[in-house]
């Protein structure tokens, strides 16, 4: 009789267990938790082309094309994104235009793909593939005249091809391949009165070709060719309707070419006659009818054309400046804008092209100094309330930010430099100071009262919509997570990011706001070449106990040029304020940067810079750091990977250096080398453990109470090579030709610890190395699927340390120093699993003590981040795990790795063009902070094994308090009661 209720009890218990088990697997968040600990920011990148909506279409919008391959529609009033498309990197966008007032046309992949997007919502209307030889500079020209054909034609020229495409449905109306060899069409323009299209191209180095085409049929009406003496460099601009300005091969003079007549007539003008102190490179820009601009590094000259007779300098701007294209205001008036730096301000000048000497608008705009120079201006006009013309401009700054300037003010700005993050590091926030000054409290008293009144209103449901919003904002402001001080759990940090423009920005992890930004002066260069590039960002000084009062600082390392011998550049910044503390130009080149674990007395981290002569230079250059370094020098080794020659080399360091008298310079000696045969293998990826990774235990207890010792070496390097034929895209090689070899190498001795071949596998390879395991992702050509393989490496030399007696007596080798020169006895376990997605980036969660189980963070092709438990990638998984193995938590073997929709940490968001995932340990062991960057930014907190060491946010402290109060009250009450009773009893 007792059996049935017992059974139900058991079922209930197992049910609970199953629920508990599942809940550990699925670490998803609830809908109302979205946005509490995570934030998502959308960017578009540096704008390279902008097209405004015409006045008729009414809406205040602008469509932009950016260097991050994004096409986007922005709200002109607020700078918000209406819609946006991130196009794949393999399909670079070249040109942008509007057609019919309702389509956005984009030309990409060197003029081979033309797409039309719906202007209001960004949906794609049509796409046309054009058969052209891909050209570096394709042209897109929308015929404005509706009389030509009933459907508006779009002309595309690329190389020696020309297409006319209907902008209604994308059908090709006509196509023309010019017969001239090596022809590249440079300019296409339309005759305003007839339906003739002029196409001007350059063939070879000196031949200019002009074609008159019928816009309706593409028939060549006239064909003129002319050789120009001295040759052409290929750079041309359109001076006016009938005049082409071309630069000669020596870049010293201009040809003014009239092409409207029966034959080509030209005139040659020396640039030095126009602009005297011309140094370095320069650029030509069409401004408008009869006016061109000549830009050098620091100056801009406006030149007016006097037919083919010559040019005259109308105006010259000696400050860094930028000129916009012309904007048609009325039938006969064209306007253009010039932005010029004047002191700390910029001057916004608008002129009519008919009368260049007079100005319509001259406004001074205050601008943030950390934005650098103006790089591009896009002028737009609007009708003011008094029916006159007003002007506003989109300005692209040197730090890639985008500003809208109107009425002498910056209306809005977008920090689009954040779309091109190069490197990320973190910094702790300052410690909270004890004691708040009285003035602070008094100042805040009124605010405080007001806030409480608002909150009271809110709780009594009396607040109106505005007040509700105010309460929300107040809550957000006062909320714990946004404070500028260090918190107990280590959730609040500064994410210090380095962008492609050489700007360093600090983001608060609470809400992603920018705390400070600094466009590093040492990384700013000339506009045309010799551009310094910022490469990496490192922690330079992380103060602890003794020098706690000092602020931490970060080091930005870069190069002053593109070539490998270009000298390096250092810049050290304060992490709290962003001030540049020190910057220096190194007197040697920079090939490899090795941050060491050593520190000097002021807790500055030691960095070793290897130059192109294989000499190592120590930084910071102080006697103190030299002492610390020399002490450890005999135990320091480094390696270099040469992907070009397929060689990995290991080095040791030696005292002397070729440079005499420089005691911070060390020579290197090659200790080992691995040469991959270049006819069968090519290095695809190398991966090492993170320097700051913490491992909790070196032993792993398996189900049958046996111990396995992890092979934990910081010198472990994972290298994957693919066969040269399989280095291309998937599908370019047959399964028989493709193979992938995975290596585990000890970087001190060059010992190959493990080497395994995957036949029929090919890249792209992504890998992550942590503790004693490596997980790598590749494509299996035989199975037509992506695969993820795992290798775990165990130390066999310690395997006999299982005897408890030995451990007690001390006869174990667990505390013996390990040297890489002893031959390691390792055992390797591996397995591979199918995985559905292709991968853009891969990382692993890092926690403070390394106790919490690990999750792999996989950036999928859909620009989302998937958290996959490492237990799924256990090589010891078997189809039928024994009872012991089940207890250990081994999941039965499956063909492929499961993808749980709830384990996407980005939940509903997409981190467009995802490039990197960074995991930063919080102070709380269970939690790790994850920052993902691409064109977008995403930040969240993850707890791979749930938050076992802290109470959740939903925990009812009130209930706990009430319980305690009730308990205390009950204790007191019963005590009094019992006392009274005892007294009463005694009195009896």
């Amino acid at each position: 009789m007792a059996a049935p209720p017992h059974h139900s009890l058991l079922i209930l218990l197992t049910g609970l267990l199953v629920v508990a088990f599942l809940s550990t697997l699925a670490a998803a968040i609830y809908e109302d938790q979205v946005g509490l600990a995570d934030w998502h920011q959308k960017y578009i990148g540096k704008v390279k082309q902008a097209v405004y909506h015409s006045q008729k279409s009414g809406r205040r919008r602008v469509v932009v094309l950016t260097e991050e391959n994004v096409i986007s529609s922005l709200d002109l009033r607020s700078g918000d994104i209406f819609w946006r498309h991130v196009i794949d990197k393999n399909d670079p966008l070249d040109q942008l235009s509007l057609s019919l007032g309702k389509y956005v046309l984009s030309l990409s992949s060197g003029g081979t793909i033309l797409r039309a997007w719906n202007l209001p919502d960004g949906q794609m209307i049509w796409e046309t593939n054009l058969q052209t030889s891909t050209s570096s500079n394709p042209q897109l020209h929308v015929l404005s005249n509706n009389k030509v054909a009933k459907d508006n034609l779009v002309l595309i020229s690329a190389g020696r091809w020309m297409y006319a495409v209907s902008s209604i449905d994308g059908s090709i109306s006509w196509e023309k391949e010019f017969s001239l060899d090596g022809l590249e069409i440079k300019q296409v323009l339309q005759s305003p009165e007839s339906d003739i299209v002029y196409a001007i191209g350059i063939a070879g180095s000196s031949k200019l070709a002009l074609y008159h085409l019928s816009a309706k049929t593409g028939e060549i009406l006239k064909d003129i060719q002319e050789s120009l003496p001295g040759g052409l460099c290929g750079e041309t601009v359109l001076g006016s309707d009938n005049l082409l300005v071309a630069l000669n091969k020596a870049r010293s003079s201009l040809f003014l070419i009239d092409f409207k007549g029966d034959r080509i007539s030209y005139n040659k003008v020396h640039i030095s006659d126009l602009v005297q102190d011309l140094s370095g490179t320069f650029k030509l820009q069409t401004v408008s009818n009869g006016v061109i601009a000549l830009q050098t590094f620091s100056t801009i000259s406006l030149l007016k054309l006097k037919g083919t007779d010559g040019l005259e300098v109308v105006q010259r701007f000696d400050q860094p400046a930028a000129v916009s294209d012309a904007l048609t205001i009325s039938e006969k008036d064209d306007a253009f804008a010039i932005m010029q730096h004047v002191g700390s301000q910029i001057e916004f000048i608008v002129k009519f092209t008919n009368d260049v000497s007079s100005e319509i608008i001259r406004e001074n705009v205050n601008i943030d100094q950390h934005r650098g120079n103006v790089e591009k201006v896009f002028l737009n006009s609007y009708i003011r309330t008094d029916k006159s013309h007003g002007f506003r401009a989109l300005v692209v700054m040197e730090d890639h930010s985008l500003l809208l300037i109107q009425q002498g003010e910056v209306v809005w700005s977008r920090e689009d430099g954040l779309a091109s993050i190069v490197d990320v590091t973190t910094s702790e926030l300052p410690v909270e100071k004890d004691g708040v000054s009285v003035a602070d409290v008094e100042h805040n008293l009124f605010e405080w009262l007001k806030g409480h009144m608002l909150k009271l209103k809110g709780t009594l449901m009396l607040a109106n919509a505005d007040e509700v919003a105010a309460i929300q904002a107040l809550r957000l402001k006062s909320s714990e997570k946004n404070k500028m001080t260090r918190d107990h759990n280590g959730f609040r940090k500064l994410l210090i990011v380095l962008t492609k423009a050489g700007k360093v920005m600090a983001l608060h992890t609470g809400d992603g706001r920018i705390i400070w930004s600094n466009l590093l002066p040492s990384f700013r260069g000339s506009r045309f070449g010799g551009m310094p590039s910022a490469l990496r960002i490192y922690q330079w000084q992380v103060p602890h106990h003794s020098i706690m009062r000092e602020n931490p600082s970060v080091l930005v390392v870069g190069k002053s040029g593109a070539e490998s011998s270009a000298p390096g550049v250092f810049s050290i910044l304060d992490s709290y304020s962003g001030e540049e503390l020190n910057s220096m130009r190194l007197d040697h080149s920079l090939v490899q940067i090795i941050p060491l674990t050593l520190k000097d007395l002021s807790e500055q981290r030691l960095h070793l810079i290897v130059d192109s002569n294989s000499n190592a230079h120590l930084y910071p250059k102080s006697p103190d750091s030299l002492n610390a370094f020399l002490h450890e020098m005999s135990n320091l080794y480094f390696y270099s990977v040469d992907i070009q020659t397929n060689v990995i080399r290991g080095y040791s360091l030696h005292k002397s250096c070729d440079v005499k008298g420089d005691e911070y310079c060390f020579s290197t000696k090659e200790l080992w080398s691995i040469i991959f045969p270049s006819d069968s293998e090519r290095i695809a990826i190398t991966e090492t453990r993170k320097m700051n990774e913490v491992v909790h235990t070196q032993a792993k207890i398996i189900g049958d109470h046996d111990v396995m010792y992890k092979y934990l070496s910081k010198n472990l390097v994972f290298v994957a090579t693919v066969s040269p034929k399989a280095a291309g895209n998937i599908g370019s090689a047959l399964p028989e030709e493709a193979s992938l070899v995975a290596y585990l190498i000890d970087a001190v001795t060059g010992r190959i610890l493990h080497r395994v071949t995957h036949h029929g596998a090919q890249g792209p390879v992504h890998a992550v190395l942590s503790e004693n395991w490596v997980v790598y992702h590749y494509f299996n050509l035989r199975a037509h699927r992506f695969e993820m393989a795992v290798i775990e490496i165990y130390d066999q030399s310690r395997a006999d340390n299982k005897d408890v007696m030995k451990l007690i007596v001390g006869k174990h080798n667990l505390s013996a120093p390990i040297t890489s020169f002893a031959r390691p006895e390792v055992a390797v376990k591996s397995q591979s699993y199918f995985f559905t997605h292709s991968v853009k980036a891969m990382s692993v969660t890092q926690t403070a003590k390394g106790i919490t189980s690990k999750q792999l963070l996989i950036g999928t092709i859909g620009d989302q981040v998937l958290a996959l438990d490492k237990r799924y990638l256990d090589p010891r998984r078997s189809a039928n795990p024994t009872q012991q193995e089940k207890e250990e938590g081994i999941i039965p073997l499956t063909d492929s790795l499961p993808i749980n929709p709830q384990s996407f940490v980005t939940h509903s968001h997409q981190v467009e063009a995802l490039r990197g995932i960074v995991s930063i340990p919080a102070k709380l062991e269970s939690t790790t902070l994850v920052f993902t960057y691409g064109v977008d930014l995403f930040y969240t907190q993850l707890a791979p094994s749930r938050t076992y060491d802290s109470l959740t946010d939903e925990f009812s402290y009130a209930l706990l308090l009430i319980t305690i109060v009730v308990l205390v009250a009950a204790i007191i009450f019963t005590w009094i009661w019992s006392e009274k009773k005892e007294l009463r009893d005694k009195w009896r």
Partner: protein
């Protein structure tokens, strides 16, 4: 009939195999019989460079002689070392091996033998100096054993103090890929303790152990579907837990229950007792209190 024929065939096959095996008998003295025969056992189905699973030597020899297409050429390459005395790399020993060309045109090395050159007096001095200053002893091999015109060398080093035991004991692992030497790992035979004490060898001769290694094949993910179905079917019968007795199953519930019951019973028994006990002193005290009044 069929089983008989199959048995006969098998017998014939076996005979052939044993005959073939007896046709070739290596009388070579091998320093280490580790993996020199790599690659000869590559199956015809595999078109890739042989990365052979361990096959018995008999089978390998059988294959080698039966394919017949395999050619073998003796060839040599030198090991050079650098004693750090400024002389650079000098020849220190010779590897001799046979080059096998399999039917698919892939070439592999087999039967590797290594002979060390005698150490000259000044070499010994240089080595002693290395030991004293805890320097590196470096060796190198050509990266391609056929094409010696290529000047690429794979290098490997070790702290000189790790080598000496009674004699100079060295352990050389050569990682091969066809005729290319990917890497050479040079090390001591035993471990190398840290910190490294100076120890001079009693015999100035090298005692060498060499191993050739080629890449292993990755364990392929098998298709689990069939196995899993099988396992599922089997699970019902095999994994059924043996019937346990009622007590064995539910003891963890019964014992606490019993305890609670016992507790309750004793508590219930105590209540009347206490009531009786408490009643008496109260009754005694009452007259005293009354008396005080």
């Amino acid at each position: 009939m069929a089983p008989l024929r199959r048995a006969l065939l098998a017998l014939a096959g076996l005979l052939l195999l044993s005959l073939a095996a007896s046709a070739f008998q290596s009388d070579e003295l091998l320093l280490n019989d580790d993996e020199e025969f790599e690659g000869v056992g590559a199956r015809p189905s595999s078109p890739l460079p042989p990365a052979a699973p361990a096959v018995s030597s008999r089978r390998r020899s059988a294959d080698a002689s039966s394919t017949g297409a395999a050619e073998s050429n003796a060839m040599q390459f030198t090991l050079e070392h650098d004693l750090g005395a400024g002389k650079g790399f000098v020849p220190a020993g010779t590897f001799s091996a046979r080059l096998k060309t399999s039917a698919h045109g892939t070439q592999t090395l087999t039967k590797l033998r290594f002979t060390r050159n005698e150490l000259a007096e000044d070499d010994k001095d240089a080595f002693k100096k290395l030991l004293q200053e805890d320097g590196f002893y470096t060796i190198r091999l050509p990266s391609n054993v056929l094409d010696t015109t290529r000047k690429d060398n794979v290098v490997s080093s070790i702290k000189a103090r790790c080598i000496p035991r009674d004699s100079l004991d060295e352990h050389i692992v050569i990682h091969m890929d066809g005729v290319n030497i990917l890497a050479v790992n040079y090390g001591s035979v035993g471990g190398c303790q840290y910190p490294r004490p100076i120890k001079l060898p009693s015999k100035w001769t090298f005692n060498s152990y060499t191993i050739l290694k080629t890449a292993e094949l990755a364990p392929r993910t098998p298709s689990f579907a069939d196995q899993l179905i099988e396992a599922d079917n089997g699970l019902g019968e095999v994994m059924k837990p043996p019937e346990k007795s009622f007590w064995a199953k539910y003891w963890m519930y019964i014992i606490p229950l019993g305890l609670i019951v016992m507790n309750a019973v004793t508590a219930a028994a105590n209540i009347p007792e206490e009531a009786a006990g408490q009643g008496q002193p109260g009754a005694q005290r009452a007259p005293a209190a009354a008396r005080r009044r």
